[in-house]
Symmetry: C2
Subunit: 357 residues, 2 copies
Amino acid sequence: MRKKRKHEGTNSRKHEGSALVIELNAVIVAVTDGKPRILVVQHPDHPENADDQKDSLPPDALPFGPLDPAADRTLELGLRRWVRERTGMELGYVEQLYTFGDRNRDPGELEGGPRVISVPYLALVKERQLSDMGTARWQDWYEFFPWEDWLQRHSSVIDEEIAPALETWIRNDPDPESCDRRRERIEIAFGLGGTPWDEEKVLDRYELLYETGLVPEQARDQELGIEYERESPVSSVELSTESSGVSLVRPMALDHRRILATAMGRLRGKIKYRPVVFELLPRNFTLLQLQRVVEALAGVGLHKQNFRRFVEKGGLVEETGQWETKTGGRPAKLFCFRREVLRERPAPGVGLPGVRH
Amino acid sequence: MRKKRKHEGTNSRKHEGSALVIELNAVIVAVTDGKPRILVVQHPDHPENADDQKDSLPPDALPFGPLDPAADRTLELGLRRWVRERTGMELGYVEQLYTFGDRNRDPGELEGGPRVISVPYLALVKERQLSDMGTARWQDWYEFFPWEDWLQRHSSVIDEEIAPALETWIRNDPDPESCDRRRERIEIAFGLGGTPWDEEKVLDRYELLYETGLVPEQARDQELGIEYERESPVSSVELSTESSGVSLVRPMALDHRRILATAMGRLRGKIKYRPVVFELLPRNFTLLQLQRVVEALAGVGLHKQNFRRFVEKGGLVEETGQWETKTGGRPAKLFCFRREVLRERPAPGVGLPGVRH
DNA sequence: TCAATTATGCTCATTGTTAGCATAAGTGGT
DNA sequence: ACCACTTATGCTAACAATGAGCATAATTGA
């Protein structure tokens, strides 16, 4: 009984006995103090909250709510509805991410619960909208993905922890062909062996870490008997037993880290060809503020002068005539998004001009 | 009774009385003779087949099948299963497109049927796999989207039919603000008023044509009392009554044209940063063959010499040493996809080097 | 006033793109 | 054999975009 889902209780009888429900997840992103943060809640009644856990740190969960097939006219309106109801937040920009429908992605299914299809959305909100109601908190998304941060942590996690562990994983594969495939996947995903780092491949990296058990939920799922196969099957305890995964990753409920990875990758890609960063900024901003937000999202540092040239010459912003004086140095011009760019360029985005190597 | 869905009958009792079903759609694309074609079927029992239709041309439908929540381990496997069962085709590359869950997108809901959520997939198959079983046929996708073809038809449809009609639509809006928004959307979507044509904006263009009733299904949906609102509400018979839409568009069932638009836009975007075109080509091909496929998909013509430079210097292909002699001119080198490019470049795609203006 | 900090202007070499010109090597017809 | 025609392929000049850095400007705090 402990895994009874909240929305089974709250919804009308229409769902009772149904083999199928749709759960809407929200990855609500804001950037504060140069850190991308997502809104997380405490998952109401998840197995990991039970006492069979060694470390009792309860996993964070993405906010979620049910689709009410009878009441919600569209999925997006359903999402907006329960986000409003539960957090009081009125979402602006939202974008559907993907639909996750693997069996047993919700362990409740193992006990006869309905098949839960999850349709997560990405939502971007402005800094100032920080309103934390109930158990909801903002959490730096790099706490869930330390290896994605090449700005603050220099991502030594990869060299020191991930790369060696993956190397073991490669070598433990008896089949030389599959071995090569593993190596190729790893080198492409993590930018090893001469391959350049691609900040968009968040999901590929996650999938690899899941398969290799370097991420805590793999062990948890395996204990529950959930198979989450991709290309190559997980050969359980291939890795040295003491290294139970990448250190310092916050636990996450269900497959929410996978969803977050999807969101991060999508957003990192999208800022390059769509002016979505501005959803995360106040109406007026300095170019450095803009740069910091882009850097925070992409997880990489950018060349300041080139960034400013790109964004100004690209017609993405225009001067407001105002100045920001509290910069700690020379005052900076304040800019705002230049809407006309939409007519001029087919794919107006910020790109990552001058990524530091 | 005429609208009873096939899978309600074929599936187990688990679905009986359920308020929710998931339908998997497949947009199966192949390129033959320089034309992108999709696999269409005749929709089993759709209202448009009834005799209340003036022109009795039955609408084409995308192949679809139900998700069996009890049997299908993943959505993708469910898709592959019924495609195999119904067409004998074993799909290779597939990619989830989007999830459409608007109420009444299936008119059966109006008569108490379950809410039908559609999860369409894009599948790419090779030319030779053309196997048409049952009612399934291959159909040039530009028959459904004449205005997307700037290669064969020069797309005079836009100048002669669409642009004037949209101009009327703009002028018929009493509110000057909303009027401006309409104009901006149109100019951006259709590349009018100095804005460049963006071949990826297939869905935006479709949405506009739907809203303005230039596409046959708008009238049909309105007759059925289905609201499919986006930003601005459809003001029904704003347009001159005689012009009942763009000429020569093949009718499509349900919201399948919207799904196809999503697929086209996605594919047109994806070829630029992912080497997916090769899924549509034989293992060995000439550079012109490759170019023709890209052109067919993107709907625009490319500069031959620049295309070949781009694709060769970009490391996307490698020579096989073989020659194609039946070119009708000088024999051409045969190339194949160069897999190593995946390691070298973060986003290896074909791009559209040298689009003809 | 100095050091530190941030903003902003400008350069230069490199690389990539656009739009062509020109040549090569086949075809079919007369 | 010669022709017109087709397709393949090599090459270039002008221009645009990018990467990396130097230099200067305008603030603040010690």
